[in-house]
Point group: C2
């Protein structure tokens, strides 16, 4: 159980609890958040907490599938459930400062796609 | 530098080098590989190495953006470049056995999507 692991566990617990004060205490003042798929960026603690608090209304829940932390790096795989039977995987990579605060978050929210036919003989399709 | 980190670094180095013998030595006999987005699965060392060796022809390269390992869990974010200017992010989560061999790999290959308009005022678009 590294500090980086604890930071990520606390991060998702705060988001699931909509505890924005705790979330603010986990990220650095200059935290940098990015979603490469949509080319969205948020810079700074205040803007980031507002993005989390106001950007995702509804009765969703987050369950952590995997969390890994080592030194100043961490990663997580969560399952986001918006209330019906559907759920989506979210993958996040975190950098931390020397003080243990999260300085950078890169989020990915992959969606289903059609597998390549030219490798169909090499896989099982479930 | 944990064993889990070393295993993941060696895994991507072997794939980049097309060194299938080394790759085979990094995964357990019953390794389980899954791509949730396409619902593709591969089970067992021999089938997995064949999938890697034969499923992805071409002159692609892999660069590791982040690798994190802790105990029996690890995660990586790589950039896959198929030879032209394009590149795609790949996110992988690994479980390891007590012997340090990789027992489970879950891969995600996210593609661009349109950001939600209802949070456009909360982000910068780059």
């Amino acid at each position: 159980m590294t500090d980086a692991y604890q930071a990520v566990a606390a991060y998702w617990a705060a988001i699931e609890a909509r505890d924005w004060e705790t979330l603010a205490g986990l990220v650095a003042a200059g935290v940098f958040y990015e979603v490469p798929q949509t080319r969205e960026r948020v810079t700074g603690r205040e803007a980031f907490v507002r993005f989390c608090a106001d950007g995702f209304p509804g009765e969703w829940h987050i369950a952590v599938e995997r969390a890994v932390g080592q030194g100043r790096h961490a990663a997580s795989w969560v399952r986001w459930s918006p209330g019906d039977d559907a759920s989506q995987s979210g993958l996040s990579f975190f950098d931390l400062g020397a003080d243990g605060l999260i300085t950078r978050i890169t989020d990915f929210w992959p969606e289903p796609y059609e597998p390549s036919a030219n490798r169909a003989h090499l896989v099982e399709h479930y």
